[in-house]
Amino acid sequence: MSTFKIEHRENNAINVLDLKGYLDAHTAPELEKTFQSLIDTNRFRIIVNCRDLTYISSAGLGVFMAYIEDVRRNQGDIKLSNMSPKVFNVFDLLGFPLLYEITPDEADAVKKFQETGKPPKAGK
């Protein structure tokens, strides 16, 4: 039951991680490795799609905390999307919606990246 899977793809030049299953103390190191390899290859625009994430514990939350500063320092961000109410509740209880951008859909997260990634328009 306690399986976990990460798939990496790109959406409009943004790195999307699809998480599936259980993100717990046992599986959290896999997500750590994935974030680390993205950072090592200078990929700092990251969306974590949580549509198929059925469970998260504080070990999972800790992974997001461990990498966010690194990513933001490099003008990137980790945005989260498509969370189930149960998973969102865990983030919410710790006040994470104030610290992370959490969007209902992946497309919203892509839009947010595109808005902030654009250079300011001429004449403004």
Binding site: D24, A25, Y55, S57, S58, M65, L94, L99
Partner: protein, 135 residues
């Protein structure tokens, strides 16, 4: 109380989940409660693995339901005194740079359950959680 022993290692989380699911099926608990049980048990279990790894003994997880009350008991055998209930609460309004990962789990457990107790007897750490079921 339905009780089972598990190896004190993160790889036990999968079999703990199976134990919880089987208990939930026998006691008509819904998916939300399975999530809560997995969550609180993992947080306590993880603390035991991280902070008292050396006992070499299996620990036990027990579950019981009496009417609307769920009781969850974790026993860590042959260890030193370690009371997680005494940890200070996490300030959830703090900005990111002032946050540290530690203590989040215990903070969340307190929010999910109605009662959180620690006892220490004969070198055993016993955590008892009580959760009221919604009707």
């Amino acid at each position: 109380m339905t009780e089972k022993k598990f190896k004190k290692d993160f790889s036990s989380l999968e079999s703990i989940d199976a134990f919880i699911r089987s208990f939930a099926a026998d006691h008509s608990l819904d998916d939300e409660m399975v999530f809560t049980l997995n969550f609180v048990i993992e947080e306590i279990f993880t603390n035991m693995v991280k902070y008292q790894p050396g006992s070499g003994k299996d620990m036990s997880v027990g579950l019981s339901r009496e009417d609307d009350l769920l009781r969850i008991r974790l026993v860590d055998y042959g260890v030193e005194y370690f009371d997680p209930t005494s940890k200070p609460p996490v300030d959830v309004n703090k900005p990111l740079e002032e946050r540290r990962p530690g203590g989040l789990g215990v903070h969340l457990v307190k929010m999910y359950v109605d009662d959180f107790r620690y006892e220490f007897t004969d070198d055993n750490s016993i955590i008892t959680l009580t959760k009221k079921l919604k009707d």
